[in-house]
């Protein structure tokens, strides 16, 4: 399959758009008509053909434009990419994992040629053809983590594992849902999760940490998380809150369908073999309400989930003020019919919206 890469922006004129193909494969995060936190993790060993779960690192029509947006964010704020000195080996681990995975999963787009430690990496969509020496930092234009994550969609946190805890010791974070690598760097798992409401009382973090610490080599895991974003912004960072936070007040009943986006993170977890660190890719997918509601099942379900979500979660996710307007819009897509279980849209079998 060859991918047509979009020419689009995630800022200024917001020309970002999803094709019909991208809408259909959007990772809708609600498997039932209600939502509460859970450690909803499963193995990341493929998925249905064409779905975002199929490949180890999904590449889609937004690849080239997302990489251009990342380069702009880094040019304005180099601290979005940081790696403490002991994390260089983990960076090489990540580079190897991504290069091997992408060249195997997308041979028409990426090539990796290896002769001992003499490697050559070909990235056709970005026009890159670089020979380098594996594990020799001086042979790449950036550190290994920065080099490969400037060419891979999604944010990346590299977590060092020691003292039965995980430590946020390196990362490339430019498409985040309102958290800051510069603030969190060096923190442990409990420290960086401290702002999340309710979950601590539910004992979720202790269980989640045990799960993550035990992710074995060769058996990656994945889960979904979600929030809401007004305008298709990848960079919703605390550093730039003054630029994007205000945009939440620009919603109107007329523009909400186009402007309000459901933001879904496909989080995956890989044990890195040479460093024993954990790679935590966080891939962001955006879909506007008007595109989501083209799938009758998703329209019905999104209305019910947003309507019934506890206030603390709507506040934490930053849309409590806009919730009434969202519900006015979404209620038009909820005719009360039951929805089938699971996250997939089932457009062939789900009944059309009763009008």
């Amino acid at each position: 399959m060859s991918i047509q890469f979009n020419n689009e922006t995630f800022r200024d004129d917001y020309s970002f758009h999803n094709s019909e193909w991208a809408i259909k494969r959007f990772p809708f995060p609600f498997h039932e008509d209600s939502y509460m936190y859970s450690m909803n993790a499963e193995q990341h060993q493929g998925g249905p053909d064409g779905s975002v779960y199929e490949k180890r690192f999904d590449v889609d029509e937004h690849y080239v434009s997302e990489m251009q947006d990342r380069a702009k964010v880094l040019a304005d704020d180099p601290l979005r990419c940081q790696s403490l000195p002991h994390m260089t080996l983990a960076g090489w681990d990540l580079l190897e994992l991504i290069m091997v995975s992408k060249s195997e999963d997308y041979p028409d787009l990426f090539e990796l040629h290896r002769d001992g430690n003499q490697w050559r990496w070909v990235n056709k969509p970005l026009g890159i053809d670089d020979p380098f020496t594996f594990l020799d930092d001086t042979t790449l234009p950036y550190g290994p983590m920065e080099y490969i994550t400037r060419q891979t969609q999604g944010d990346f946190a590299l977590l060092d594992q020691r003292e039965e805890n995980l430590w946020m010791d390196a990362g490339m974070i430019t498409t985040q849902a309102d958290w800051s690598l510069d603030f969190d760097i060096g923190m442990n798992f409990f420290e960086w999760h401290a702002p999340v409401p309710k979950a601590n009382e539910m004992g979720i973090f202790k269980r989640a940490l045990k799960y993550l610490i035990n992710i074995p080599q060769g058996s990656p895991g994945r889960r979904l998380n979600w929030t809401m974003t007004v305008n298709p912004l990848l960079d919703t960072s605390p550093e730039n809150y003054h630029k994007w936070g205000i945009q939440k007040t620009t919603l109107t009943p007329e523009n909400i369908g186009a402007k309000q986006h459901l933001r879904v993170e496909l989080q995956t977890f890989f044990r890195l073999p040479r460093s024993n660190a954990l790679a935590f890719p966080i891939r962001c997918y955006l879909c506007s309400f008007q595109d989501l509601t083209t799938m009758p099942k998703w329209g019905r379900r999104l209305h019910r989930v947003i309507r019934d979500l506890p206030d603390e979660l709507a506040t934490y996710k930053g849309f409590i003020d806009n919730r009434p307007m969202m519900l006015d819009y979404l209620s038009k897509f909820d005719d009360g019919l039951p929805t089938s279980p699971g996250i997939f849209p089932e457009p062939e079998t789900e009944p059309p919206l009763k009008t």
């Binding site: 190897e96 074995p216 058996s219 994945r222």
Partner: protein, 327 residues
């Protein structure tokens, strides 16, 4: 979340051929493996272990061994096994039955004893066969000019596996002590006055590990800078009956068998990684039990041991009428 997948709970497996069986000392033999599909092994980090599956008649033995080969050479994995004549039989099986050319199965590497890569310096304390993880750690550190030293205690020069190779290669970094010559590792001398940011690692008999930890703490080392690996072999004990709620079965755990092994024998899918009470993967809820749980793991907290609600089936046992667990 998406398509449900049914996979077995243990780590991924690698089919291998025994490529060499090399006697190292009277009691220690090295086993080298190549992949049966001809590809390279997965990279691994120093301190990682693999679980070796041994087909001993109808019984499958699963024993963890530290990978001791050079992490830079992925054509081969190697382990060194000390023959324990009074053990549970796995090491004797390896020594007496396993031959060059045999087909076996290993698991992907799992590391519960990894280097702290922040360290300015690494000090290794090995007792006897506890040398094995350090061989791979040294290989890893040598690739990056890491700063390390090794203190290795053995009974006699003849018993000190790999001491000759290490001394020849790293004469200023390796120190060997023979109890037959009344030599002991001078723990206090070694641990005192080390630069800030030094990490210490101990592997071997319990008294060596306790000695390193107690001496270091006494000298003001942070507890988190002292690392140890002690694999527990499951202890033998009186047979006991277990009711498996989910599987709707009642099974008997034999005298020389762990609860985890009994579950596997009965075809019940049970998760595991280390099989030595350290990793927490096999943690299982106890539904009821008229009797006493014999906890042998390093994983559960004291309160959890006392609660009677959790058991680690890889090493822990039960004495009493009937144990009921959530498997």
């Amino acid at each position: 979340m998406s398509a449900p997948q049914k996979t077995k709970s243990g780590p991924a497996q690698i089919d291998v051929t025994v490529s060499a069986v090399v006697p190292v000392t009277e009691f220690v033999t090295r086993f080298e493996f190549t992949r049966r599909d001809g590809t390279e092994f997965p990279p691994f980090s120093g301190g990682a272990h693999t679980v070796v599956a041994m087909q001993d008649g109808t019984r499958t033995r699963l024993n963890p061994y530290s990978l001791m080969s050079d992490p830079a050479d992925l054509s081969t994995y190697a382990i060194s096994v000390r023959r324990e004549d009074d053990g549970r039989g796995g090491s004797v099986f390896m020594h007496s039955q396993v031959k060059q050319g045999d087909a076996m199965t290993l698991t992907n590497p799992v590391n519960l004893f990894s280097l702290d890569l922040r360290a300015k310096k690494h000090i290794f304390f090995a007792g006897g066969i506890g040398i094995t993880p350090f061989l791979a750690m040294i290989g890893q550190l040598e690739l990056t000019n890491g700063n390390w030293e090794l203190h290795y205690a053995s009974r006699t020069p003849e018993n000190a596996a790999y001491a000759d190779v290490l001394l020849a290669k790293f004469p200023t970094k390796v120190h060997v002590y023979y109890s037959s010559a009344n030599e002991r590792i001078p723990l206090a001398d070694v641990l005192d006055g080390q630069p800030l940011g030094t990490q210490a690692y101990a592997c071997g008999p319990e008294r060596l590990i306790d000695g390193v930890r107690d001496t270091a703490i006494g000298l003001g080392w942070p507890d988190s800078n002292v690392h140890s690996e002690e694999f527990l072999a499951p202890a033998a004990g009186a047979p006991f009956e277990v009711r498996l709620c989910k599987s709707d079965k009642t099974i008997t755990v034999g005298e020389h068998e762990s609860l985890l092994e009994a579950l596997e024998r009965e075809g019940v899918d049970a998760p595991f990684l280390c099989r030595g009470g350290a990793c927490g993967q096999c943690e299982t809820d106890v539904v009821s039990g008229a009797g006493e749980l014999i906890h042998c793991d390093h994983w559960l907290e004291e309160e959890e041991h006392a609660s009677g609600k959790k058991i680690m089936p890889c090493v822990s046992r039960f004495v009493g009428e009937l144990l009921e667990i959530d498997r």
